[in-house]
Symmetry: C2
Subunit: 601 residues, 2 copies
């Protein structure tokens, strides 16, 4: 289906919005009246700009408080409408959105509403314009899609149809039965379909609508279920996004438009309209790649953790450090992102690397050059929304190019068992504007599942965190974000969590090798003693080593932290089979302890 | 009454919070458990730090999910409680907060709840500790203050009392009758009183409570009405602030603690507990002072607006520009805040400047040096939360020192009528963390009234604006704030709105004198034509001059804008007597037009 986006969903001047929409592949736009009013371009110039960009103007919106009002008021409304129809002629827009009235003057009289809308449609028809009538969830007398449709039906004019808006419908009811009536509306009378998702919130619906809408798949609504009914009805118009969101208003229009288009690609797949390459779910983390301006401190830390430098890249200053199935690449080459040590790339073990890359490309993930030098093993890679490079790769699998063949052994064998078995999870800080999109990206592009997001108190503000994982937990990525956009986004920590079967032994070994563990306050252990019963000496050991402890119904989680280099630190974790979390309830204590070592802001 | 503040209300490490609370004049603190857990200080050290700072520890909190649970669970709860009582002994805290249970294990059995709380109180009593039981608004079975009190009464133990929390009480009901029952609780059984205000919002009460609480007077609750009942009951404990707020979590602890203490000073005055110097409401704007590194562009702009340079300060490089009753000081001296042209000070016409300053000082406004050089007329001045200097002054009033005597006439007389009569309003951008406090400051310190805050769409994010005024509108200040903390806070515009009786003439004169008015898009005027009927030629004149138009039930508002110098621009306004707004609905168009002239971000 054709795709469209309301200009109000993107930030900036009208021309910026149009350019961003066109570049992201939208077929058309809804022109939001305020964007037009604020633009120095005449309607004819906007029309020409859209034509140049290959965009149709699918809707002009909104017209408000038209129907079921006293006669004098309606006369003024028709005068106002005629002005707007002339404007739409100049703009080349043939459909106008009319929202159900919120005017205190409006009366509860469906027959009068139908009469007025018919009069409006007659006027519009003379300009070749169609009127799409939509029920606002907070409309004074008309607030449901079926009520709006009954009025349209009664008005019975070919230039009058209805507009369906997923927010207004799903904010009022999440019962799938309540949207089934959509399929009974004649498809040609559904003049327009506006789509917005939203997080499930118990709050005033108008505030919810104006500030918290998001793109399909970023929130909690069953948009796909609604769209299926609209398709069943025979709707032929575009899928159009109308999203009011305080965060998107501040974000750059270009990336937001790409995220928006991706959400519609995923939606169309989910309702069976398209069949892009299927997701190839990663089966493990092949490696984590650190870039660093200085090899020394990171090497020392890896050595103390029991890693051995087993190989070096044949063509680049990249070392492979290994222990068990945990692999860390240390890249000290020149690069664009060399502002300190950071986690720059993740190797995802894939049963079909090329297929995974095709999936990512079809969902608008920027594809990175596949081969850096002619000798390199071809590697499929894309960029995640936060800029992290995701490599789809295979480690020692027959029939697939093995990324490790780019590396030349340097003599040191990988330790048979240094205590670390594999990477348990990675924690990646997201740009503030990208947090909701990051989860949708990882779900749709990589086929991972997303857990609920959790709030964590840092001494200087609330953080949010949301994990994405595959089914068996062999790939876990915790996506985090700070409390608000700030200049020090680049300072926020990332970390690599390493799995061990015996955390106490691993921590002791690390310390014996000269490593320093984050000091956890004694008060924390007094609290643990109040909460849980431990074996004799157990708690004293945790206190000595700075080990944190959590427990859920299915098992326990023990973890401790190294010092931070640049943006990066390591976590050592021992996870009982059933435990599914990340020790979030310990995070405030850990964050406070990390602040102790940092300069005061 | 004694004042106290919960450590969770302030940002930073525990020691930062304690220092900020003590400096702001609090008598005590509530220690929030998570702050203690995250602190490297032992309980004894925290106790000593508090003693050094002159702070008592009035409450340890919270203890959760204690009562009305199965026997095994209750046994574990007592074990946990005993640990905490030992901790409180070390801390020197003698009162613990117990919140009504939210546990799925809790049963709806008041007798069992009373029995359990009595057992807990008996245990506490052995440590010299008192238990204060509070109803959470979302408690599983106990969610109202009177229900919690009935259980406390039934438990009947001297070490058990109730804790009242204004948020939990007022979030459930705004009916003054519903708090009257408080006066019937024996005062000695009200062990503690926690105060928080909140903006009136229709949203999930738990989210509302955890993220949007604010200090008394910053929100919409009738905190004073509640406190009157508590006093009537005979409560002897402290007034304690417990505020969970996402913004305060990011703000510096020091200023937040001062704002917090100010809110309690105002509250105590409003319930008649104290009588600080009464507010002296300003009767006009005596002057607006611009600081600028370059005299030329600002002087040119003032000249084009019809101002004359009438006088110069006797001791400093400050010029007085005047027209009608509008006075602008242009300060080009060296100063701490010389990063471009900005509005640095406001002169408020005051019938009692010294009294106004005493009021401000009693409410913790930083007092500025009264006399800069021995020759200067003594001027009373304080700093507003955003750093703007507020001078309380008199212009040509018998018996009061006249600030204009510091200025030496330079020969040019003030134009009799250049079209500008006076300053209509000032618009001051607030630091993000100070927006709610700014309104409380201007209300309580200056005795101004605050209007509702409004959201305004800028192309790059939502802005908020809230006006404070005196009764006759001769002092109007619009407090604004951007969408989120950002590096370019310093770039946000401030403006001076000048009142004229004939905007068209004033605008024409300005242009004839070489001034440039902000260009408003033609589309805006097409929309005006659709909305309103104008006299012939009226709209064409507005379009030609870039005049914006608004109308409410009582009158019309016409306004236009100059270009921006540094952070500052001027607005020319013609306000019908009845019109009370600021043309907020035109702000998006104005903001977009101003962005056109700025570099793209």
């Amino acid at each position: 289906m054709r795709t469209s986006i309301a200009t109000v969903s993107l930030s900036g001047a009208l021309t910026e919005k149009l350019t961003a929409a066109a570049r992201a592949g939208f077929d058309g736009v809804e022109v939001f009246e305020n964007d037009l009013l604020a633009s120095p371009l005449a309607p004819e110039e906007i029309r020409a700009r859209c034509a140049d960009l290959g965009l149709s103007i699918d809707l002009y919106q909104p017209m408000r408080d038209i129907e079921a009002v006293p006669q004098d008021e309606f006369r003024r409304n028709l005068r106002r409408a005629e002005h707007k129809f002339r404007l739409m002629e100049r703009l080349g827009a043939d459909t106008v959105l009319v929202c159900s009235s919120v005017s205190p003057l409006a009366v509860d009289d469906d027959a009068l509403a139908a009469f007025h809308l018919r009069r409006l449609a007659e006027l519009a028809d003379g300009f070749g314009i169609r009127v799409a009538y939509e029920a606002l969830a907070w409309g004074r007398h008309v607030s449901t899609y079926d009520h709006a449709w009954r009025i349209v039906e009664a008005a019975d004019h070919p230039a009058l149809g209805t507009c369906l808006d997923s927010f207004h419908i799903l904010a009022r009811s999440s019962d799938p039965k309540d949207v089934e009536g959509i399929a009974d509306i004649p498809g040609e009378k559904i003049f327009f379909l506006q789509l917005a998702d939203a997080p499930l919130m118990a709050m005033d619906v108008l505030q919810w609508s104006r500030h918290y809408r998001c793109f399909p798949g970023q929130g909690g609504f069953d948009i796909a279920g609604l769209v299926r009914q609209v398709i069943k009805a025979g709707y032929q118009g575009p899928l159009s996004l109308e999203v009011f969101n305080d965060v998107f208003r501040q974000a750059e229009a270009g990336p937001t438009a790409v995220d928006a288009q991706r959400s519609l690609l995923v939606l169309q797949e989910s309702v069976g309209l398209t069949a892009p390459p299927a997701p190839v779910v990663p089966t493990g983390i092949a490696f984590a790649e650190l870039v660093s301006p200085d090899v020394e401190p990171v090497s020392e830390l890896l050595e103390a953790l029991g890693f051995a430098r087993t190989a070096r890249h044949r063509g680049k200053p990249v070392d492979l450090w290994q222990q068990g199935e945990a692999r860390v690449l240390l890249n000290t080459g020149p690069g664009a992102r060399r502002d300190g040590t950071q986690l720059a790339a993740v190797g995802l073990e894939s049963p079909d690397p090329a297929g995974a890359a095709r999936r990512a490309e079809s969902l608008l993930a920027p594809v990175l050059p596949r081969r850096r030098t002619p000798e390199d093993v071809p590697l499929d890679a894309v960029a995640a929304p936060d800029g992290t490079e995701l490599f789809f790769c295979a480690t020692g699998r027959p029939g697939l190019p093995d990324w490790t063949r780019d590396f030349e052994p340097v003599g040191q064998p990988a330790p048979a068992d240094g205590g670390i078995r594999r990477i348990d999870h990675l924690a990646l800080t997201q740009p503030w504007h990208q947090f909701d999109e990051a989860a949708l990206f990882h779900r749709s592009v990589l086929g991972l599942g997303a857990l609920e997001s959790v709030d964590v108190a840092d001494p200087y503000g609330l953080l949010r965190s949301r994990a994405v994982t595959n089914a068996d937990g062999s790939v876990r990525i915790a996506l985090g974000v700070g409390p608000a956009p700030s200049a020090d986004d680049g300072d926020r920590a990332q970390h690599i969590a390493l799995a061990t079967d015996d955390l106490v032994a691993a921590a002791r070994r690390f310390r014996a090798a000269g490593g320093r563990l984050l000091t956890i306050p004694a008060n924390y252990y007094d609290d643990l003693a109040a909460k849980y019963e431990f074996e004799e000496g157990e708690l004293e050991t945790y206190r000595e080593l700075g080990i944190l402890y959590d427990r859920d119904a299915d098992g326990a989680f023990r973890h401790c932290y190294t010092e931070t280099i640049g943006r990066v630190f390591f976590e050592l974790v021992q996870r009982d089979a059933g435990y599914r979390g990340y020790g979030a309830q310990n995070a405030p204590v850990r964050l406070a302890a990390q602040h102790v070592r940092r300069p005061v802001r």
